[in-house]
């Protein structure tokens, strides 16, 4: 922390969640739940009635809000809106794909680790040319 300064520190930023019921319940128990004056929450509970459009809208809303620093999204839900998640490349809010109860974490589809894939494919292309 020595090299860091508190220049444009965003004090008290929120964590947003797009996940299944148990995951959302757990994180709300840990104290991340926020409801503002307009009754807008910082979480979206996804069940079998939730449409992809609702997930897309929530993702766009959470990534556009300035008071949110991390967006947690279950990986199987991220797979439903993969085009949106992969095209997102801002440092804040940080998008983190987390495992869910029925779907274990798969590094191959994580948007962050796709950079490793890209780097290695670029390297292998370079080595092919040599």
């Amino acid at each position: 922390m020595a090299g860091r300064s508190n220049i444009p520190a965003n004090n008290s930023a929120l964590i947003a969640i797009i996940a299944d019921e148990d995951t959302v319940t757990g994180f709300l128990m840990a104290g991340v739940g926020n409801v503002d004056l307009r009754k807008k929450t910082n979480y979206l509970l996804v069940d079998n009635k939730t449409t992809v459009k609702q997930i897309e809208d929530a993702f766009k809303e959470f990534t556009a809000r300035e008071d949110i620093a991390i967006v947690l999204i279950s990986q199987y839900i991220a797979n439903m809106i993969r085009f949106l998640v992969d095209s997102y490349n801002k440092p804040i809010p940080a998008i983190l794909e987390i495992p869910s109860k029925d779907h274990p974490y798969d590094p191959a589809s994580d948007s962050v680790l796709s950079r490793v894939k890209y780097l290695f494919s670029a390297d292998s292309v370079a080595s092919d040319r040599r």
Binding site: A9, L14, G26, M29, G33, L113, S121, V125
Partner: protein, 226 residues
């Protein structure tokens, strides 16, 4: 190109071991390597750390889900449900603090995240008067609970035993029980352990966010140099 993508798939499947191999060669090779290769090594280290943290997060979440399921089993499905969520206006008790490094521009910087659980950091930054007041009220509360021994429960006894840091502990306990109050006054101990598991998961998530930040920063650095 097809061969290249196939090779990339193969690398990704073995993504765990690959950075470790690089890491073991790190000490010997670092002297010979240029800045570009050092950046790639840093990138691979960050990716390795990210995967390790994700493993820990999976374990913490699994423990949390198991405890939550146990609590639901003992309390009943209707008492541990999303329908009980409080939709009234409320502020999050656990928040993040984002700090940008001083030497980089805001557009290309890698932000550093830190967790302030149950708003403790904000309160610790305030003056000592507040903590003195809290300790005084805490003492009064113990005297009151000692007068009615029947009403004291396990958590009260535990907090009474630890005389040092009583104010912080009591604040955390108060905030934790407030977060669980939507599920009723008397909740299963498993619900409390689930809460602790998800708190651990949150800590890991913040570390993951920092690892992600490092990956993106190294990646953009490598791309710029290439």
């Amino acid at each position: 190109m097809a061969a290249a993508t196939a090779a990339a798939e193969e690398v990704l499947q073995h993504m765990g071991p690959v950075p470790r191999v690089e890491e073991t060669n790190n000490a010997a090779a670092a002297e010979e390597l240029g800045g570009d290769d050092e950046e790639i090594l840093r990138f691979m280290d960050s990716a390795d750390g990210y995967l390790l943290l994700m493993d820990s997060l999976s374990s913490a979440l699994r423990q949390g889900w198991l405890d939550l399921a146990s609590a639901r089993h003992s309390m009943g499905a209707s008492r541990v449900s999303s329908t009980l969520f409080d939709h009234k206006e409320q502020s999050a008790a656990t928040k993040l603090q984002v700090v940008y490094p001083a030497d980089l521009q805001a557009s290309e910087s890698n932000p550093h995240f830190s967790l302030s659980k149950w708003c403790l950091q904000e309160e610790s930054n305030s003056s000592d008067i507040v903590s003195a007041q809290d300790s005084a009220t805490a003492k009064l509360r113990y005297r009151g609970s000692a007068a009615t021994p029947d009403s004291s429960n396990g958590s009260d006894a535990r907090t009474a035993e630890s005389s040092t840091g009583v104010d912080v502990n009591s604040q955390v306990q108060k905030a934790r029980s407030k977060a669980l109050s939507v599920f009723g006054a008397l909740v299963s101990p498993k619900l409390r352990t689930a809460q602790v598991s998800f708190e651990t998961a949150l800590e890991l998530i913040v570390e993951l966010a920092n690892a992600r930040s490092a990956i993106l920063s190294s990646f953009s650095q490598i791309n710029r140099e290439a």
